[in-house]
Symmetry: C2
Subunit: 414 residues, 2 copies
């Protein structure tokens, strides 16, 4: 057989399977495993009956375009609905500023391709979403980390990192961040910092890529809708590219998400998407559009907030009991707890024991573009019902205790 190594592009040589997806593959092989690994939405919330009746209607055959190639920008009535959705997010958007993407992952990929040449800098939170890391790495971007505090990105460090890259002669293309219930930390960026970020972007003539999959999933006991107001909402200069998705509110199976960008950029995004997959699934777009028009989305969201809040509560309760020496900041929304393990426990090393105990998570190191912190792990509380969460955290507790007990033993046995 052929050796392909010297035939691969520089990008391909760097490509690696995502840690999160790898964990899913591992998980599929272990019976009775409880997975806190993938940020999977709760499938019991999926509106099966609504989708069934929607599909029966849209597949009647009376409208042939339902299964034909569609416009690259997206199904026009869905674009209209997105205008309404953005209005509910305090953001006024014209139809020509919208692009439907095949999942937000495609939005991230397009952002990378439109803005990054090899070596160009993307500023990223430390830690940040792995999907953004791989998308920007795959176009050979230089990823530079910016520290976060409990109220979000550290603005002093941001400016320092920016100036340092500039001083080294690099082109800094944008700052990527997830202001609402960040993946993996769960952090909610404060209102003051959102406005300060826009000032910073204007002062430094920078672009901001705002990823917002979780904003509508705030928990009513600790956050308000006003606190999730997108950075984009106050973007008068057109410096913010905004991404959001239906994967966490309707279902990931449809692969329907969207990107908002100044209309002058849209022809480039559209051309990039055209060469990538021509158009997003047309049936999927119809289903999503009908789910909006028929009120499915509107009915779902308050229920999802309650559901995920209950799951967060179950996980926090169990962590307090089972892992009293671990620490975390209570997430006010979203899917994740970013857990600091007891001192000296390495998140990657723990994984083998955890899998033996039939529980799965993602080691924190996967989320860092530099200076990985080894004693963090990401736990998704979204996918499992409360009783399973409690059981899973119990298993995790046992794994940690084994690790702590096992360690000195390993040092003295040959």
């Amino acid at each position: 057989m052929i050796d392909f190594t010297d035939r691969l592009s520089r990008a391909a040589l760097r490509m690696q399977e995502s840690e999160i997806r790898k964990m899913s593959t591992v998980g599929a092989r272990v019976p009775d495993l409880i997975s806190f690994a993938g940020g999977y939405p709760d499938h019991t919330t999926f509106a099966w009956d609504d989708y069934r009746s929607i599909v029966a209607d849209v597949l009647s055959g009376s409208d042939s375009t339902v299964l034909q190639y569609g416009p690259t920008r997206g199904y026009p009535p869905l674009l209209e609905s997105l205008g309404e959705i953005m209005k509910h997010r305090s953001t006024s958007v014209m139809t020509d500023e919208l692009l439907i993407t095949t999942g937000s992952q495609q939005g991230l990929d397009l952002v990378g391709r439109v803005f990054l040449d090899a070596g160009d800098v993307a500023l990223m939170e430390l830690p940040t979403y792995t999907g953004a890391i791989t998308a920007f790495r795959n176009v050979l971007g230089t990823l530079v980390g910016v520290r976060q505090a409990t109220d979000g990105i550290d603005l002093d460090h941001l400016d320092w990192a920016f100036m340092q890259q500039r001083a080294q002669g690099r082109r800094v293309a944008f700052l990527y961040l997830t202001p609402n219930f960040q993946n993996p930390t769960g952090v909610l960026l404060s209102r003051a910092k959102r406005l300060a970020l826009l000032n910073w972007a204007a002062r430094r003539d920078m672009l901001i890529v705002e990823d917002d999959p979780y904003g509508v999933l705030y928990f009513e006991d600790s956050a308000t809708e006003a606190e999730t107001r997108p950075v984009k909402a106050d973007d008068v200069e057109g410096r913010v590219i905004y991404l959001s998705t239906f994967s966490k509110t309707l279902t990931p199976g449809f692969r329907v998400a969207w990107l908002v960008a100044p209309s002058s950029l849209m022809t480039k995004f559209e051309a990039a998407k055209q060469a990538t997959d021509m158009c997003t699934g047309t049936l999927d777009q119809r289903i999503v559009h009908e789910a909006i028009v028929r009120g499915v989305l509107r009915r779902q969201i308050p229920e999802l907030r309650r559901q995920y809040q209950r799951r967060r509560d179950a996980m926090e309760g169990a962590l307090t009991t089972e892992l009293p020496d671990s620490r975390w900041n209570r997430p006010k929304g979203g899917f994740f707890i970013w857990l600091e393990l007891p001192r000296g426990v390495d998140g990657e090393a723990l994984l083998t024991t955890a899998i033996e105990q039939r529980v799965l998570y993602v080691a924190g190191t996967a989320f860092f573009v530099e200076a990985p912190e080894r004693n963090f792990i990401r736990l998704a509380f979204s996918g499992a019902p409360p009783a399973r969460i409690v059981e899973g955290v119990g298993r995790l507790g046992r794994a940690v205790r084994h690790q702590l007990v096992g360690r000195p033993k390993n040092c003295i046995t040959p």
Copy 2:
């Protein structure tokens, strides 16, 4: 507003909307237009009733994975079915050599990303499929044209082009071609040339990217299944990457296609896809899988062959009457007639008059990576019923006659 020009990547600066997609946008604005532009399958052949009953079953809610994130490689039972489909195409394939892609367009994009660094050469037929051109251009590939004869690619010219690029110090990554009913020329690559191509690839240590959307759609009056045998079928060394799709047989709306590559390459393709859209739509994959299992695909294909053959006949008949001074080679399958206009008629210039006459096509220049021939146009006979084809060709005839009459007049009036 911000000027984004100096913020775009080199790739983005080169990105342009596809001519074909642009024509579709134009077409949508003209009432009673007959379009021969996009390679749209005939929507009356779509199996609406089957899809409706399939979806009612798969959305019962009993299997939660139907709407959840799925494996990046694809839905495992669909991968199994693809093994069977490839066997019917005389090609034996292991599951770990298969990847589901979001349309073949994504397959082309992944091929570009995995093999091409900026400046690397992709050898392409003259003319060739625009979607491949843009995919490889978007990773800054250097696209080098190879002439074709009526039985397919010119092997002498291929080797000459290859050696010339090598001599100039460029890395030649692969040859891209569409052996079956090529887009846009409709050419069927001869059996002898298929085998000669594999010999050439072995001698020059090259890879071949074989794009096969139309192979099963041969016309029984002029071609046999044996003649469409993929190059991949005889690829003992693993030099051929093969792409195919359900867009032309089931529907394009599902965005489900596949790529076959040596398993040692698959981790790279998978990682590239992961960062691009995570996974192909999971509902779409289920529908396609059920359509295979329930025999929908098998039932459709012979009917599609007859249907498209009738449409080709309608177009050829009308062309003979309406455009007696034009020339074409009879396509033995697929969707397209590659029409050489009467001497001196420019395909791009004709477009304005054609749209006035309410008929649309794609000017041939869009399909050339170099040395465009200006008096060719691509006519898709797939999308319109025979009567509309006849009417559309009539309009095209009028447009050509206007152009021929108008031209000398334009030369003498000031």
